[in-house]
């Protein structure tokens, strides 16, 4: 099937890009001014441990061999030890990954679906009050500065109104209690997720709304809409069955194009809400000069971005038969 070929092709592309990033990172950390050893090995380690780690990472070898060891280590999940936590980096990022994925995917899916739905409605009522309201609303929310919005959300809803927790992803009481079932824990996470999710949602849905709206207006001018009307279809059916599926395609494309923006936003949101995800880990690792953790976090984020790109591309191919066949 064509789709399989397409996916394989894209996977290869992604792997290539990832290798380039991996290599660039390698060069960056080994060749930047300063002693690369201090960037890889915790200065607080014992002499013995240091030596072992240096050997493991191959820091005493020529650059070429270092690279090979580096790549090998990567695939074996050996990212070194975090200076800050004193634990293997791989454990830390593995623990954080699901949290980021949860928040990130939920926010994108929610904003995309709502944006498409509202954009469709806005285009139906073009020029009327509801359209202006939605367009201005979308514009206003989309241009807000994300970290600032996050602070405002916390201030109003968590601090002043006390409806939601100020920080974190979980309440320790719930999770440490052996009586708590899965549902209780899940609800707890959801409860903590409301504010960060709303922040991300508010920032992102606007652009999808605007794109869907203008896409619908363009699509409604197409010839096949005339055909549908000539066939005697009702306006509602024309918009929902003929126009919307076509109009949604550029929105999917724009989701893919704005993934980098979305990930930036994700990292900022995690930091302000103290949501234990990879983005936040990267930020704190950098500020604490925890190089191994910073590097690995970045790589993991890069993988997330690349795979998200792939997913969006595949989704588009699925929705647009012109790509598939």
């Amino acid at each position: 099937m064509e789709l399989r070929k397409y996916i394989t092709g894209r996977l290869m592309q992604i792997t290539l890009i990832f290798f380039v990033i991996l290599t660039v990172l390698f060069l960056l950390f080994r060749l930047a001014p300063g002693d690369p050893v201090t960037r890889m090995v915790d200065p607080d380690m014992t002499q013995e441990d240091s030596q072992r780690l240096i050997a493991e990472l191959g820091l005493d070898q020529p650059l070429g061999i270092q690279y090979v060891i580096y790549v090998k280590n990567f695939f074996m999940g050996r990212f070194g030890y975090s200076f800050h936590y004193g634990e293997p980096v791989v454990d830390i990022i593995w623990d954080r990954l699901p949290n980021t994925v949860l928040l990130f995917t939920t926010s994108i899916i929610l904003s995309a679906l709502v944006g498409i739905f509202l954009g469709k409605i806005a285009s139906w009522h073009k020029g009327k009050k509801i359209d202006s309201f939605m367009t201005i609303g979308a514009l206003a929310t989309h241009t807000l500065f994300l970290p600032w919005l996050a602070l405002l959300m916390i201030w109003v809803f968590a601090y002043k109104l006390g409806w939601f927790p100020i920080t974190g992803m979980i309440s320790e009481e719930v999770w440490l209690d052996p009586e708590s079932g899965f549902v209780a824990k899940a609800l707890d996470v959801l409860y903590h997720m409301v504010l960060p999710l709303s922040t991300l949602f508010l920032i992102h849905f606007g652009s999808y709304l605007l794109i869907m709206r203008s896409s619908m207006l363009e699509t409604l001018k197409e010839d096949y809409i005339l055909t549908a009307r000539a066939k005697g279809l009702e306006e509602k059916a024309i918009r929902n069955h003929h126009a919307a599926p076509n109009a949604a395609l550029p929105v999917v494309t724009s989701i893919g194009l704005s993934l980098a923006f979305s990930i930036n936003g994700g990292a900022l949101t995690e930091t302000v809400f103290t949501w234990p995800g990879i983005g936040r880990e990267l930020v704190s690792a950098v500020s604490q000069n925890d190089y191994p953790l910073a590097q690995a976090s970045f790589l993991l984020i890069a993988i997330v971005v690349l795979i998200s790109n792939l997913i969006v591309d595949v989704l588009y191919a699925y929705l647009d038969p012109r790509i598939r066949y």
Binding site: D223, Y224, A228, K231, G232
Partner: protein
């Protein structure tokens, strides 16, 4: 009673330059089982007229005057819901294949079936698809292509699919707007032949719109020549094609190459079409006419009956 009788149809558009009359007092009749062709250059209003008949004018267009009597009912007096019922089940349209007339993300078979499902509440989907298979056989598309998407079809196949779709509800009248324009000559010929067959088989009435007078002469019993929104000559094909009266018709025929007859130079018509926002007071073709009369520029031309069925809108043609 003729199937379709159009009387003084006038269609106008509101543009930012002003209001323009794209169709100006056009009248004609069409009997059951017969075909009428409209020829003219781009912008002469023939497509607009086709759209007006279907009630598919864009928001800035409207019928200013006239009546469209279809089987005795004035279509212009129908509500939009009633008109929606009439569309496709009584009057269907065939668009140009090169147009994006088929929804690119929907399977062709489903789109043809949709035409039937919209008009028949009791019809089940399997029954509709079975009918689609029959239609495809009729127009010459292999049945296994039903599940394909429009971009997988060739130009000729797309045109056939559009024809199949038009026939889906057994309409009485089909309006074909430049159905073969973008196709290569061989396919064009095939499609035209098939259309003639279908017309005989189903006793269809066809309004054929084209800029190519030779096609229209081949397909249609009657021909109407349009220029700048007006009908300038109207009559049976033999009369109009072989003994044209109006200077524009003559010029139009002269600008097309013929396979038989003497070898003459092709004569393009000099000049430009008039501005329809402020149309000239007199004959609209005057500026480009080879032999304008003395009053042609100032006085609007009158209909002159050349024979019982053949008439032309020209002062000098007596």
């Amino acid at each position: 009673m003729p199937l379709l009788s159009v009387e003084n149809l006038t269609v106008g558009y509101n543009t930012k330059h002003g209001s323009l009359k794209a169709v100006d007092r056009v009248s004609f009749t069409l009997k059951e089982g017969e075909s009428l062709g409209f020829v003219g250059e781009s912008g002469c209003g023939k497509t607009t007229m086709g759209m007006a008949l279907m009630g598919l004018l864009p928001p800035n267009g409207s019928v200013r005057e006239g009546e469209i009597l279809f089987e005795g009912t004035d279509l212009l007096k129908l509500s939009s819901e009633q008109m929606r019922q009439v569309r496709w089940s009584e009057i269907a349209m065939i668009f140009q294949a090169a147009m994006n007339a088929l929804n690119p993300v929907q399977r062709v078979g489903a789109q043809v079936a949709e035409a039937m499902l919209v008009h028949d509440d009791l019809l089940k989907e399997e029954a509709a698809l079975a009918k689609v298979e029959e239609l495809f056989d009729l127009v010459g598309i292999p049945r296994d292509r039903m599940l394909d998407y429009p971009h997988q079809y060739s130009g000729g196949m797309k045109q056939r699919a559009i024809i199949a779709m038009a026939l889906a509800c057994n309409p009485k009248l089909i309006i074909a707007d430049e159905p073969t324009t973008a196709l290569d000559v061989i396919v064009q010929d095939q499609i035209l032949e098939e259309m003639k067959q279908l017309q005989k088989e189903f006793n269809l009435s066809i309004i054929f719109i084209s800029h190519d007078i030779s096609i229209v002469a081949d397909m249609c019993h009657d021909i109407g020549v349009m220029y700048a929104g007006q009908l300038v000559e109207y009559g049976p094909r033999e009369a109009v094609f072989e003994s044209p009266v109006h200077p524009y018709t003559k010029a139009l025929l002269a600008s097309f190459p013929t396979l038989t007859g003497e070898k003459t130079d092709l004569a393009p018509i000099p000049g430009e079409t008039p501005n329809l926002v402020r149309p000239p007071a007199g004959c609209r073709f005057c500026d480009r006419c080879t032999k304008p009369g003395s009053t042609c520029k100032t006085e609007p031309p009158q209909w002159v009956a050349i024979s019982e069925e053949h008439k032309a809108l020209c002062c000098r043609c007596k």
